[in-house]
C-alpha cells in the first residue's frame, strides 16, 4: 500500500497526480477463504480490516452485492457519539469512540473525524430528568458529558431559538464534547484500503444467494459468481439481514424500515456543533462543504424500497424550522432513504446462531454509523476466536428469549 503523506502529495504533483495507485484491488473470487464477511458496508469492511490487522486472519473475503459504501454507510447523517444509558451499550459505543479518536492515523486515511460536540436537547421536565440520569450514568462509565441549561445551550448555538416563545421551549441539553461527525464515504474507503493492504479480497457486484450448510455447520455461500467456501461466515447486511437469515433458516427479531437523510444547499459556516432533539424530533449538523445534514425518524411501516415518504420529509423539516427559524428559507438539495434494521430494544445483535460458524452483526437500526470501528473490532475478535468478545456478549440473539434486553430507546437519540 502506498502511504499517504505530505511528501507523497508533492511527489505526485510532479507527475500531475496521474500515477496514484488504486486504493484497493478488484480480485476474482478464490475457491475458499478462512472467513467470509457478507456485506461491504462500513461495519463489514471494519470487521475485515481488524481481522487481518489485529487478529492475523488474512485469508478473508468481503462479499458485496453492490459497490462499497453504496448503502447506509453513505446514506447517514454521520453523527458519532457514545452517550448511551446502559453499561452494556455504553461500553460498546465508547469502545468505538476510542477507536474513532485514532482512526485517521491508524488507517493512514483522513476520515475527517471532527469532535465538535453533540447536544441532545430537553424540552420538558421529564426530558431534563432523563438527561440528568443519562449524563450521570455516562460519567460513572468514564464517558464525558455535561448537563446544560437553556442559557448554556444558547451560548453554544446562538442561531437556535432558545426563547420562551418557541412551541416547545428548550429547557436544557446533554452535551458530549468528544462526540462529533466523520466523513462517511471516507470511513468505508479507508477501511477498504486498509483491509485490502492486509490481503483481504473485496468482491464487489457479488451477491450471496444462499448458504452451504451441512450437519448444522456452515461451509460456504452460493453467489452469482459461483460458490465460495469458508467455515466461518459473518453477515453484516443491515436492512437485508432478515432476508439473509431466512436463507439460513434463521428468524431474527428485526423489522426493516426506510430512514431518510436530507442535505441542503451549501451555506457559509453557521452551525459548528451537532444538535439533536428527541422531543421535536430532528437532528442537524453542518458539513465541511457547508450543507446542512438533516435527519429524523424512520418511516413507520416496513419497507425495502430505499426511498422515504413525503410526510416524513415534511415532519423532519418542521422540526428543524421549529428549532432554527433562521433556516426556514433554506432549500434542500438531496434526500436519501436507507433501509435500517430496527431491533425491539434499539440495541444491535452481535451473535452466534444455531448454525455453527454463522454469525450475525445486525440490528443497529438508526444508529449504526457511530459504532463502525467498535462493531468491526469486537465482531472481528469474535470471528477470530470463535467466542463472542466480552463487549459483544450481552448483544446475543438469545436475549429476546431470556428477557435480558438492553433497552436503549431513551438514549438512542430520537424516538424510533
Amino acid at each position: 500500500m502506498q502511504r499517504y503523506s505530505g511528501f507523497g502529495l508533492v511527489k505526485h504533483a510532479l507527475s500531475h497526480h496521474e500515477n496514484w495507485e488504486r486504493q484497493w484491488r478488484n480480485p476474482t473470487p478464490k475457491k475458499a477463504y478462512d472467513v467470509i464477511i457478507v456485506g461491504g458496508g462500513g461495519h463489514g469492511l471494519a470487521t475485515a480490516y481488524y481481522l487481518a490487522k489485529e487478529f492475523g486472519v488474512r485469508n478473508v473475503a468481503v462479499i458485496e452485492k453492490g459497490w462499497l459504501g453504496g448503502g447506509n454507510t453513505a446514506r447517514n447523517t454521520t453523527i458519532v457519539r457514545s452517550n448511551y444509558l446502559w453499561d452494556e451499550a455504553a461500553a460498546l459505543y465508547e469502545h468505538s469512540m476510542k477507536l474513532w479518536e485514532g482512526l485517521s492515523q491508524d488507517l493512514n486515511y483522513n476520515v475527517m473525524f471532527s469532535q465538535r460536540g453533540v447536544l441532545n436537547l430537553g424540552h420538558t421536565l421529564q426530558d431534563m430528568r432523563d438527561i440528568q440520569r443519562r449524563v450521570n450514568a455516562n460519567r460513572l462509565n468514564g464517558i464525558d458529558g455535561e448537563v446544560l441549561d437553556a442559557k448554556g445551550v444558547q451560548a453554544l448555538v446562538p442561531i437556535m431559538d432558545c426563547s420562551k416563545n418557541a412551541r416547545y421551549p428548550v429547557m436544557g441539553a446533554s452535551w458530549q464534547p468528544r462526540a462529533g461527525v466523520a466523513r462517511h464515504d471516507a470511513v468505508a474507503w479507508g477501511f477498504a484500503r486498509g483491509a485490502d493492504a492486509h490481503g483481504v479480497d473485496i468482491l464487489q457486484q457479488t451477491e450471496v444467494t444462499g448458504f452451504k450448510i451441512r450437519d448444522g455447520q456452515v461451509y460456504g455461500v452460493h453467489t452469482n459468481r459461483g460458490d465460495i467456501e469458508a467455515k466461518t461466515v459473518g453477515c453484516v447486511t443491515a436492512g437485508n439481514s432478515g432476508v439473509l437469515a431466512k436463507m439460513a433458516g434463521i428468524k431474527l427479531p428485526l423489522e426493516s424500515h426506510p430512514l431518510q437523510a436530507l442535505v441542503s444547499e451549501p451555506l457559509k459556516p453557521v452551525l459548528d456543533t451537532v444538535v439533536m432533539s428527541n422531543h421535536v424530533h430532528g437532528y442537524i449538523s453542518q458539513s465541511d462543504k457547508g450543507d446542512l445534514v438533516i435527519g429524523a425518524g424512520i418511516d413507520g411501516y416496513n419497507g425495502y424500497g430505499q426511498r422515504g415518504s413525503y410526510p416524513t420529509v415534511e415532519h423532519t423539516l418542521q422540526a428543524i424550522v421549529e428549532m432554527f427559524p433562521i433556516f426556514s428559507r433554506v432549500r434542500m438539495n438531496r434526500q436519501w432513504g436507507g433501509i435500517v434494521d430496527t431491533c425491539p430494544d434499539a440495541c444491535p445483535i452481535l451473535s452466534k446462531t444455531k448454525v455453527k460458524g454463522l454469525y450475525f452483526n445486525c440490528g443497529w437500526g438508526t444508529g449504526g454509523f457511530k459504532a463502525t470501528p467498535g462493531s468491526g473490532h469486537v465482531f472481528a475478535a469474535s470471528l477470530a476466536k470463535g467466542e463472542m468478545h466480552p463487549i459483544a456478549a450481552p448483544f446475543s440473539i438469545d436475549r429476546f428469549n431470556t428477557g435480558a434486553l438492553v433497552d436503549e430507546h431513551g438514549a438512542a437519540g430520537v424516538a424510533h
Partner: protein, 130 residues
C-alpha cells in the same frame, strides 16, 4: 404518499390519517403461563419482515380510529388489499405465485417484475436459475 382505503369508512384517505402498527395476524398464546421462554420471546419480538408481500395492522388514527389490515408489497409499496379485523387476506404471496403461474406471466430476463409480483412468483417464473 399512500392513498389508503379504510374498510370501515369505505373511503380512500391519505397516509397521514393512519398509523402502521406492525405485522398482522399475530395470535396471542391462549395460555401465556404455559409458554416456554422460546415461545413467549418469539411471540413478543420475532417478526416475518419479508421482502415482498406483507400483511400489516394499521389504525385509522384520525378517522374512525379502528384497526384494520393491509396487504402491501414492501419493495414497490403497492397496496394490494385492505380488509377488516378478523377477516383473512384474499391475496397472499402464495396465491399470487399460483395465479401468475397459471396465467403464464413472463418476467423480463434477469429483471425483477415489481408491480404486484411476489418474490416467489418471480422465482417460479424464472425457473431454477434463481
Amino acid at each position: 404518499m399512500f392513498y389508503i382505503h379504510c374498510p370501515y369508512c369505505g373511503e380512500h384517505r391519505e397516509e397521514e390519517e393512519f398509523h402502521p402498527k406492525g405485522q398482522a395476524h399475530i395470535a396471542r398464546p391462549a395460555d401465556p403461563a404455559a409458554c416456554s421462554d422460546e415461545e413467549w420471546g418469539d411471540y413478543l419480538f420475532f417478526r416475518d419482515n419479508p421482502r415482498g408481500i406483507h400483511h400489516e395492522l394499521w389504525v385509522h388514527a384520525v378517522g374512525c380510529r379502528k384497526f384494520f389490515n393491509i396487504t402491501r408489497h414492501t419493495v414497490t409499496y403497492e397496496i394490494l388489499e385492505t380488509y377488516r379485523m378478523g377477516e383473512q387476506p384474499t391475496i397472499t404471496a402464495e396465491s399470487l405465485a399460483r395465479a401468475e403461474k397459471s396465467a403464464g406471466v413472463q418476467v423480463a430476463n434477469g429483471g425483477q417484475q415489481t408491480v404486484g409480483a411476489s418474490d416467489s412468483a418471480v422465482k417460479d417464473s424464472k425457473g431454477a436459475k434463481v
